[in-house]
């Protein structure tokens, strides 16, 4: 396993994919989590004092960690799914699976190593996005002449943990899709259409069709949003981020995300083990 991890770590470190995905995500978090709301704040009717204050409060260092993690349920997950697809699917595109699987480490070890190394990349990306959020919030606080009030370290760690937890689940799903569809293109198309389109449609329908409500429990997007909501991040209706809503409790959301992670790794591993590599 150690050899497989060393090999996959070198491969991912030398690839552009994690850097492109990571930078894209940081730009999205800073842009949509802080940039756009700040523009809204700056252009909001000064008479709406309470609204402006509430909006600014979310952009200051004391709340930067929750604002950052609020971006994950909708777009962060999709970004991490892309990374997962690239981790496994690119090997089909390059035709490198035969070489990868004939060096010594077993097939399961190679797949698990890929996901673990991808998860390590996710930790770095999530930490970098959090750091960028903190820096942005400090800039906003300075511009607005607000005092720098820092959140508790435990709260920041919890936000980072939730971000990583959500990201790894989506990454695992992406890795499985890359193997299922033996490539990048179809896996990305199916993954993004499902997560950004069908999941949201189903979740929205569940709001008006009570019979569909239990379906939300097994959907990755709503459970990710529920876990973020469990941190105390306001939902969209409360002025928070898109996708954040307490559909299920925190522990249930954790269990579902864990199940997705395990299922993603299991499906990818079983398929790679069972299939002929040609």
């Amino acid at each position: 396993m150690r050899n497989a991890l060393a090999s996959e770590a070198l491969l991912l470190r030398r690839r552009l994919a994690p850097f492109v995905v990571g930078c894209t995500w940081i730009v999205l978090v800073v842009g949509f989590g802080f940039g756009v709301p700040y523009i809204v704040y700056a252009t909001l009717d000064p008479a709406k004092t309470a609204d402006r204050a509430a909006l600014l409060e979310m952009l200051l260092p004391s709340a930067a960690h929750t604002t950052a993690v609020g971006s994950y349920p909708m777009f962060g997950g999709a970004i991490m799914l892309i990374l997962g697809v690239l981790v496994t699917g690119a090997e089909y595109r390059w035709g490198t699976w035969p070489a990868r699987l004939s060096q010594g480490p077993g097939r399961a070890q190679v797949v698990i190593a890929k996901v673990l190394v991808g998860a390590a990349a996710v930790v770095v990306i999530a930490a970098a996005a959090l750091a960028a959020s903190m820096v942005t919030s400090v800039v906003i606080a300075s511009v607005e002449g607000r005092p720098l009030t820092w959140p508790a370290v435990s709260a920041v760690a919890a936000s980072l943990g939730v971000a990583v937890f959500i990201s790894v689940a989506w990454l695992s799903l992406g890795a499985a899709l890359g193997v299922i569809f033996r490539g990048v293109g179809t896996a990305l198309a199916v993954g993004l259409v499902w997560t950004l389109g069908l999941e949201n449609a189903l979740s929205g329908l569940a709001g008006v069709v009570p019979a569909l409500e239990p379906v939300r429990v097994i959907l990755l997007g709503p459970t990710s949003g529920s876990l973020v909501a469990a941190l105390g991040v306001p939902s969209l209706s409360e002025g928070g981020a898109v996708g954040v809503a307490a559909y299920v409790s925190g522990p249930v959301a954790c269990a579902v995300l864990l199940a997705y992670t395990a299922a993603g790794i299991a499906v990818a591993t079983v398929l790679i083990r069972r299939r002929d590599i040609t």
Partner: protein
């Protein structure tokens, strides 16, 4: 230390008795296509085996089975005493199957380092194999800028990582220039002292020059397995060429004897000759009859057939090449 000495210096000695590869009635079907049909084969250590067969004969499938990339439907396979795909076995096998594939935007060196780490090998091993295939000068260029021949050499370098005791090479000289081809042949011959080599090539001359033994596959089945010399003597050994003057008289003498009546005129007007099937002990009688008839004999020789002739005779195919 020379390039080839470097390659051959590393491996551990190979046990003399157990076969490197042993297949018993191995069958593999893809959908409705039976790619390998009941192949039984034993490959002994330290030799260079050539794998010949027309397109679709099952050569590449057989190689994939040995590396564990493809699982056989029936039969038993043992590679280095273990089932194919066993991690301990894989670390002792170097394989280049079909066209070499690498991460295109990474350098040749990094691509090999990724493979080397999977085997637990240090970067120094990468330097060694790059030098062995004469690619150290281009090692830090991106693979996407490599020529076909350079990719091929990089693929062979990947197969050499860790001094494998079994080397499986599918068309290793594909895309190489004449100098590269000669160097690769020499490299393979040098490796034979320390490793067993299973080599597939559509260049029959290459197989003839490089290999000790040849396995001929046709439609997924083994149709011949022998040493190169035995295979060459097996087919065409009875063909005798007779050059004589006057040719008409020689032909008349030959046609008058039942044993030689199937002689056929061959060659053109500038080099007329007769070809007939004849056992070795029949040659003196033939010469005596021609001389007694007043025929002037210029040449009587047994025709030496190439591996290509043998291949065509065994497979009935005129398009040797890489296949499934």
């Amino acid at each position: 230390m020379t390039l080839h000495q470097e390659v051959a210096s590393g491996p551990d000695s190979i046990g003399a008795t157990p076969p490197v590869v042993e297949l018993q009635s191995v069958t593999k079907t893809f959908g409705t296509v039976r790619a390998v049909r009941g192949v039984t084969l034993r490959i002994d250590p330290g030799q260079v085996y050539g794998l010949l067969g027309p397109n679709g004969a099952g050569k590449t499938t057989l190689m994939r089975i040995l590396v564990g990339l493809v699982r056989s439907d029936a039969g038993t396979v043992q590679v280095l005493g273990r089932p194919p795909g066993d991690p301990r076995t894989l670390r002792s096998i170097g394989a280049l199957i079909e066209s070499p594939a690498f991460v295109p935007h990474l350098s040749g060196r990094v691509n090999l380092q990724v493979l080397a780490r999977a085997r637990g090998l240090p970067d120094a091993e990468v330097v060694r194999v790059l030098r062995a295939v004469d690619l150290d000068g281009a090692a830090d260029r991106r693979v996407t800028g490599y020529s076909l021949g350079m990719r091929q050499r990089l693929g062979v370098a990947g197969a050499l990582l860790g001094d494998p005791s079994l080397l499986i090479l599918d068309e290793p000289t594909n895309g190489l220039d004449p100098e590269g081809t000669a160097s690769m042949r020499s490299l393979i011959r040098d490796l034979a002292g320390s490793a067993t080599v299973l080599l597939s090539s559509h260049l029959l001359g290459e197989i003839q020059h490089v290999c000790d033994r040849v396995v001929v596959l046709d439609k997924g089945a083994v149709v011949a397995e022998d040493s190169v010399s035995a295979l060459l003597s097996r087919s065409g050994s009875r063909s005798v060429i007779v050059r004589a003057r006057p040719m008409d008289l020689a032909e008349k003498v030959l046609k008058s004897n039942d044993a030689w009546s199937k002689a056929v005129r061959a060659g053109d007007a500038g080099d007329p000759h007769v070809r007939l099937e004849l056992d070795g002990d029949g040659v003196p009688g033939l010469v005596r009859a021609l001389v007694e008839a007043g025929v002037e004999i210029h040449e009587v020789r047994r025709e030496r057939r190439s591996l290509e002739d043998v291949f065509f005779a065994l497979t009935g195919d005129h398009s040797a090449g890489s296949g499934t």
